[in-house]
Symmetry: C2
C-alpha cells in the first residue's frame, strides 16, 4: 500500500509511478469507503498537493468523487474526503457451487448492487449448460446497471483446481469437469469480451475475508471452504499462497485415516469424505434434493446432534493439521462449516486443541466468516476489480460501456 518507485536503467519512470500511485489511492478508497485526504497523505507518504492531483485525475476517470469535510471527526482542521464515484465501474462476480450458482453485479467500493441465483440440477452440469445458466443470470444482474457505468471484468469462483496461468479448470470433481475453460464459455454465451479471472473458491474466500471480513488486518489466515468438497485458501505473511501452478490448499485430500469412504480422487481416508457436504447431509438426514441448500437446512436444524458431533471432532482433528502446517493467526470456517460450527463448535474446538501442537495453537483463533455466506462471491468481485487498482488508466480505457443494452440485444 506504500507508493513504489520502480527503477529503470537511468532514472525513475514518472508515468509508471503516477499510475501506480493512482491505483494505490483508488485501492484505499475501494477498501476504506470514504477516506479523508489527511488519511491518504499519511498512508501514502505523499504531500497534500500530490494527493489532490491524484484525486482530480480519478474524478476525471469517473472513479472517485470528493466529499465535504465532516466537522464531527475530532479536532483540527477537517479534511475533505474521497469516495467512489456515482455510476462508477462495476464487475460481474460468479460464485459457482456444485448445485447452485450465484451471480452478482458489484460496484467499485465492493457494494453488491444486484444478485441472482439458480440451481444447477445434476442433469445439467455440463460446462456449456452451466455457462448458459450463468449467462442468463449475468443478463439479469446487469439489467439494472446505469447505462454509463463501465464493466471492467468478470471474476469466477470454481469449486476445483484452477491453473493460475490461464484460469483453466483442471478439475472440478463434483461437477465432473476436466480441463474446462469456463470463463471463455460464459463470455461466448454472452457475446461479450472482457477480462475474466477464474480462481478456486477457497482462495477467493480467503482473499475476501482478509480484505473485508474476519481477517481484516490479519497477515496469516487460512479460510476453509466446506462444501461438497473441502479446500483451503491460505494467506501467509500477507501473501496469498499459489504454489507452482496455483493448486495450493487441497486440504480435503489430507489423509486422516487409513479406511473410510471412497473419495473421488481414488483413495480412501481423505478428510473431505469425513467432513464434506455429503457426510454432513447424511448426519442430519438432509433430503437429497435439499443438499443444494444445506447451509440453510443447517441454519434451522433442530434435530439430534450425535452425528454432527462426530463430524465436528473430525473437523477439529483436521484443522489441527492445518494449524501445525501453516501456523495461522486465524482460521475462518466457510461454506457448510459456518452453520456446522454454530451447532457443534465445542466439539470442533476440543478436537483441535487436543491434536494441535501447543506452540502454534497459542496464537490461533477460530471464527466464521465476517462476510457470512458471501465470502467467495465478494472474493470473485475483488479479483475482477484488481486490474483497476493496479492501473486505473489502462483498465478504464479497455472497459466496456452500454452493457445493459449490449446484453439485452
Amino acid at each position: 500500500m506504500t507508493p513504489a518507485r520502480p527503477a529503470t536503467g537511468t532514472g525513475t519512470n514518472h508515468e509508471a509511478v503516477r499510475r501506480h500511485n493512482l491505483g494505490t489511492l483508488l485501492r484505499h478508497v475501494h477498501l476504506g469507503g470514504e477516506v479523508s485526504r489527511a488519511h491518504l497523505t499519511t498512508r501514502m507518504q505523499l504531500n497534500r498537493s500530490t494527493i489532490g492531483g491524484l484525486v482530480t485525475e480519478l474524478e476525471g476517470l469517473g472513479l472517485a468523487r470528493q466529499t465535504q469535510p465532516s466537522p464531527s471527526r475530532g479536532a483540527g482542521r477537517p479534511s475533505a474526503g474521497v469516495t467512489t464515484a456515482h455510476d462508477g465501474p462495476f464487475v460481474i462476480a460468479v460464485d459457482l457451487g456444485v448445485d447452485r450458482v450465484v451471480v452478482a453485479r458489484v460496484a467499485l467500493g465492493g457494494a453488491v448492487e444486484q444478485r441472482a441465483r439458480a440451481a444447477i440440477p445434476s442433469s445439467a452440469r455440463e460446462a456449456w449448460q452451466v455457462g448458459s445458466t450463468v449467462a442468463d443470470l449475468v443478463r439479469e444482474v446487469v439489467s439494472g446497471a446505469p447505462p454509463a457505468a463501465p464493466l471492467v471484468g468478470m471474476g469466477v469462483s470454481v469449486p476445483g483446481l484452477v491453473r493460475r496461468s490461464d484460469g483453466l479448470v483442471r478439475l472440478a470433481p463434483n461437477l465432473e469437469w476436466h480441463d474446462v475453460s469456463f470463463g471463455s464459455i460464459v463470455l461466448a454465451a454472452l457475446g461479450l469480451d472482457v477480462p475474466v479471472t477464474t480462481a478456486n473458491d477457497a482462495d477467493l474466500g480467503a482473499l475476501a475475508e482478509q480484505r473485508r471480513g474476519a481477517g481484516l488486518g490479519i497477515d496469516d489466515l487460512v479460510y476453509i471452504s466446506g462444501n461438497v468438497g473441502v479446500g483451503a485458501g491460505v494467506i501467509l505473511g500477507g501473501h496469498p499462497l499459489r504454489g507452482a501452478a496455483g493448486y495450493v490448499g487441497e486440504v480435503g485430500h489430507l489423509r486422516l485415516g487409513t479406511e473410510g469412504r471412497a473419495c473421488h480422487c481414488g483413495n480412501v481416508g481423505c478428510w473431505e469424505t469425513e467432513v464434506g457436504g455429503l457426510a454432513i447431509a447424511e448426519a442430519v438426514g438432509c433430503p437429497a434434493q435439499q443438499v443444494a441448500s444445506l447451509d440453510g437446512f443447517l441454519d434451522t436444524y433442530t434435530g439430534p446432534l450425535e452425528g454432527l458431533r462426530e463430524i465436528g471432532e473430525q473437523l477439529g482433528g483436521g484443522l489441527a493439521s492445518l494449524v501445525n502446517v501453516f501456523n495461522p493467526e486465524r482460521l475462518v470456517l466457510g461454506g457448510y462449516f459456518r452453520p456446522l460450527f454454530a451447532l457443534v463448535g465445542d466439539e470442533v474446538r476440543r478436537a483441535l486443541a487436543a491434536r494441535a501442537l501447543p506452540a502454534p495453537m497459542e496464537s490461533v483463533s477460530l471464527t466464521t466468516p465476517g462476510l457470512g455466506a458471501d465470502s467467495v462471491l465478494v472474493g470473485a468481485a475483488e479479483v475482477a476489480l484488481e486490474p483497476l487498482l493496479v492501473d486505473p488508466v489502462a483498465t478504464m480505457a479497455q472497459a466496456v460501456r452500454d452493457v445493459p443494452a449490449r446484453l439485452a440485444g
Copy 2:
C-alpha cells in the same frame, strides 16, 4: 535482487538506496562467486560507473576484490570481475542435531573453511551442557581464522519449534527442551557478543537448497527434514513461509492414521512416528549407539529391504499430502531421507504418485539435497550472513575482530 528505491516523505533517501545497492551487489558476489561487472550492470540495472563506485566501496570495506578480465569468456570487450575479499568476514554456523552437533566457520561466499563435530550423549542433553560443547567446537573452528578477519554473526539450527521474533526454542522435543534461549547460552559460554539467528532445521535446509543446492532457480520448494523428528521448510513464490510466529511446516504431526506408535506430542498416528529416525533404525536393526550416525549406517547398508520398503511407502504417502497442500515444483528429501531414498526410491515414488492429485503431481520433481548432508549447516551460515547482504556498512561496523585471540584467552 533489483535495486529498490525506498520512498520517504518528500523524496528519495540516497544514503539508504546506496547501502541497499551495496548489499545487493555483495549478494550477487556471495551467491555467484566471481561475477563480471557486465553481469552486475545487467542484473542490477545500474550503469557501469555506479557499479564501479559500489565495487570500490566494497573493496574499502574489505568485502570484495577485483579480478582481471578473463579473455576466454566469449566475444566482445572482456569485463573485469568481482569476487569476495581474501581474509574477508566470516560467520559461525551451528547444526544442532538430536545426538550430534556440527559447527563450522563459513566465509562470505559460502566456503566452509573449517568444521568440527561432537556427539551429544543422551546423558548430556541439558541446554547448558550442549551450549558448552558447542562453545568448545566454536573455539576449535575459529582457531585457524585469519586474525584480521571479522566475525559478523552466528547462525544456529535447532531440530524444533523456534519463535521467529526472538529465536527462543519453544520446543525441541527429542532434546526435551522447552523455552530455551540457546543462542544466548552459547554466547555466554564463549564470553562473546555477536548477533545470533536461531531457526528451525528444515527452514534452513530449504533456504540453503534454494540458494545453493537442488532448488536453485526454483520458487516453490519444500525441503523435508527426516531426522529423529520430521519437519518441512517451505518456500512458495520465492518467499520462505513463516506463519504467525515462525512455526510453519510441522508436517511430522500430520495425522496419517488413527493408530500406531505414540508420538511425543501426545497423539498417535503422527507421520513422524512412521517415517522418523527411530522407525528407520528399527527397520534396519541399527544399534542404539549408532542412531547418531544413522545416515552413515544407511549409506553402507546392504541388509534386507522389507522394512524399509514399508517406510518408503509411508514416506511417499505423506509426501502426497505435502504435494496436495503446497503444490511445490520440487521436493527435496533431506536428513535420513537422503540415504533412504537411495535404497527404496521406487516405493517412495509409487506411493506418492498413487496418493497425490494428478494436477499438482504434474509439476513436481523429487530429489535429494544438492548440498548432501550439509544443507542445514549451509542454511545456518546463510542466515548469519544475511545482515551483511542487507546493509554491509552497518554490519561491518559492528563486526568483532581478533576472534582467535579473544576466544583462546
